[in-house]
Symmetry: C2
Subunit: 372 residues, 2 copies
DNA sequence: TGGGATGCTGATACCGGTATCACGCGGAGG
DNA sequence: CCTCCGCGTGATACCGGTATCAGCATCCCA
């Protein structure tokens, strides 16, 4: 006997059929909206269903059709406004096409990501959208396994190089480069990179930085963009100006404080995430400096707050919802029978210029005689 | 024949049994972890499962057990940081107890809420958590229907008075009252209420305000708290100081601008949501006024940004994740066989005092000779 | 008026698990 | 030595849908 679930008023198709005085198949055809049923019987079935308050059991339907009309979504953290926005895009787009979503957060832990994939496979979702923390060849086994089971997968926000999958991202590298270029053309040469490489052994080399930045794809890309801009302007990388360690607001404050205390201190800060921005701002305030007079700043992820800051902050705006919506769309298209294109869809971000960048001020330790 | 789903490597329990050379039931007992199986056969089954890459079909299991280990969550907007935080709490707490979650957003539309409830019933979730937009007796039919089907339901963030359900909220009224009291004791008497009643016919009466504020429970409670504080201080309600109309940042800016242009203008603003805060701040800036010299401000929903504003903003912090976690916990407890207690769990919020409240400044139109 | 085509309906075999129960086997007791 | 009991195992009937197909009724036409 199945477990004791009080069947409190959950009539089955058989009961509806009995009530209507027709065969089970006829009731099923009517309620399922397939096959033919004469208007008269259809009417009787509908009436019976209405009377009994019949609701079709989606589980049973999925069992038999093999389709669950459910998408799985694996994100770093649903509580993070960025991912919440992405999720909203996914949610809206899939709901519009009759799909619901199961969300799982990984907190950037690979084991959680693997577990999440398993859960979704078990629950027989029709497709999966992942913002993966995986990077190396040996970290993508779970994704390969899911693909092997024939589950369509779309990557969002983060590309995973060893995988040939549809991917929806923004041009993180280009966006970072543009932001840093803006600072450089304002005259800055001591530009801090806040947030990113999560841990690194000192002394820090360029290679080591890029190595650990691989932890999360976006971080690596943004670091690369920062380096691109530096390279173009022939400004040598100073590892002291790159934050390492845990990616928390508190640590960002510490690191920026350190960069501010350097003999040849930073005059501009490039922050790769919103918590990095607030963390940096705290350090700037604590040092008694003011933005943009003493310190210029540009950060990733615009928000309503950034616009009402004093000064209004120049920020990089990501098309958060579209990121999610596009990912869902691509996935649903292959579920609708379309061929997976395995291409990278790059949505465009936008640098919103406000007032947090100015030429490096006087009264700073900035030395004018750096190499040309 | 079931639809053509390429069964690419999704072995069933029968195939595992065949591979292991045992009966289906024995394989099922081993893999399902119930009943007895001799160590020897168990070993063979496990090996076969491993070899074939067997994963149990959660759908089939749910069909037969009647339990899906899935919770349904209905929120106003998963893209809103507040609800994202609540969702994270729900998600973490349920995952810790083996449950996954399907999230649906309603955007405060009752029809969406009803549709969402239906979806969740159809998908046979084991329980539902709702931040409902429903208020009146005739607006809760869908919830009653779900209850009638024996689905445990817990309300989060918003109470629904006509329903006797477990409910997890904060003391919105008390929190609002406290915030307004702080402003009053700083000397303010012209205090604006930003965000809330969504539409109202002019002339606006106290009754009409409370009537429309019923749209969303939290709005109503916060308005009541505002009135409480006013009443205690014997400050008459001036409807001109209560924002009405659409709840958008832009409209908040407009409304605050209006209140600022009043002959006897506001000297303090109480904002019931974070977008209301940023909207209000925009208007304050545009009017060339400064906070807290000319205008004091307190808002709901603290964030990292509020702390780095100039000045740092005094805000009400809600225990966002705990709100979700507690709701999930209560729900899971009844799923574990506990009796529903039908009680209201009130978590405590906290007024974080920073620097956005000061006595009404000179140079304002504030009249000292209001009634005592 | 008989034969075939066509139209509707209801039996029934799935889907992949869970849970009950009957059966066969070996050991203990009479 | 036979019976009874217990244990481990495999058959099998569910869960609630979908989808196939047989079968009966009707209709058309020769």
């Amino acid at each position: 006997m199945p477990a004791d679930r009080s069947q409190g008023g959950r009539p089955t198709i058989s009961e509806v059929a009995a009530e209507a005085g027709v065969g089970r198949a006829t009731a099923a055809r009517t309620l399922g909206g397939y096959g033919y049923v004469s208007p008269e019987l259809r009417e009787r079935v509908l009436a019976a269903a209405e009377k009994l308050g019949y609701r079709t059991n989606a589980l049973a339907r999925s069992m038999s059709t093999g389709v669950s009309h459910t998408l799985g979504v694996i994100l770093a953290d649903i509580g993070n406004p960025f991912f919440a926005g992405v999720m909203r895009g996914i949610s809206d787009a899939s709901r519009a096409r009759g799909f619901d979503t199961i969300v799982l957060s990984t907190y950037e832990r690979l084991d959680e990501e693997v577990a999440a994939t398993d859960v979704l496979i078990d629950k027989r979702v029709d497709g999966v959208i992942i913002a993966s923390a995986a990077v190396g060849r040996d970290e993508v086994k779970h994704i390969r396994a899911a693909m092997g089971r024939g589950i369509p997968i779309v990557l969002v926000d983060r590309a995973v190089t060893p995988l040939d999958l549809d991917t929806v991202v923004i041009d993180n590298r280009g966006a970072a480069r543009e932001a840093v270029e803006v600072m450089i053309s304002a005259g800055h040469r001591r530009i801090g990179f806040v947030w990113g490489p999560s841990s690194v052994s000192t002394p820090v080399t360029r290679r080591a930085l890029l190595e650990t930045a691989r932890n999360v794809w976006t971080d690596g890309e943004r670091l690369r963009g920062y380096l691109d801009a530096l390279d173009d302007a022939r400004i040598p990388l100073d590892p002291e100006l790159v934050m390492t360690g845990p990616k928390t607001e508190e640590w960002a404050t510490q690191e920026v404080a350190r960069m501010l205390a350097l003999p040849d201190r930073v005059t501009a800060l490039f922050c790769t995430e919103t918590d990095a921005v607030t963390g940096a701002l705290r350090a700037v305030r604590a040092a008694g400096l003011s933005c943009p007079r003493d310190i210029s700043l540009i950060g990733f992820d615009d928000s309503a707050w950034a616009a009402v800051m004093e000064p209004p902050l120049t920020m990089i705006e990501q098309p958060v919802r579209q990121l999610g919506a596009k990912a869902a769309e691509v996935l649903l298209d292959v579920l609708d029978g379309g061929e997976p294109r395995h291409e990278v869809h790059t949505l465009s971000s936008r640098l919103i210029t406000r007032a947090s960048v100015a030429p490096p001020g006087k009264g700073t330790f900035y030395s004018q005689q750096s190499k040309p």
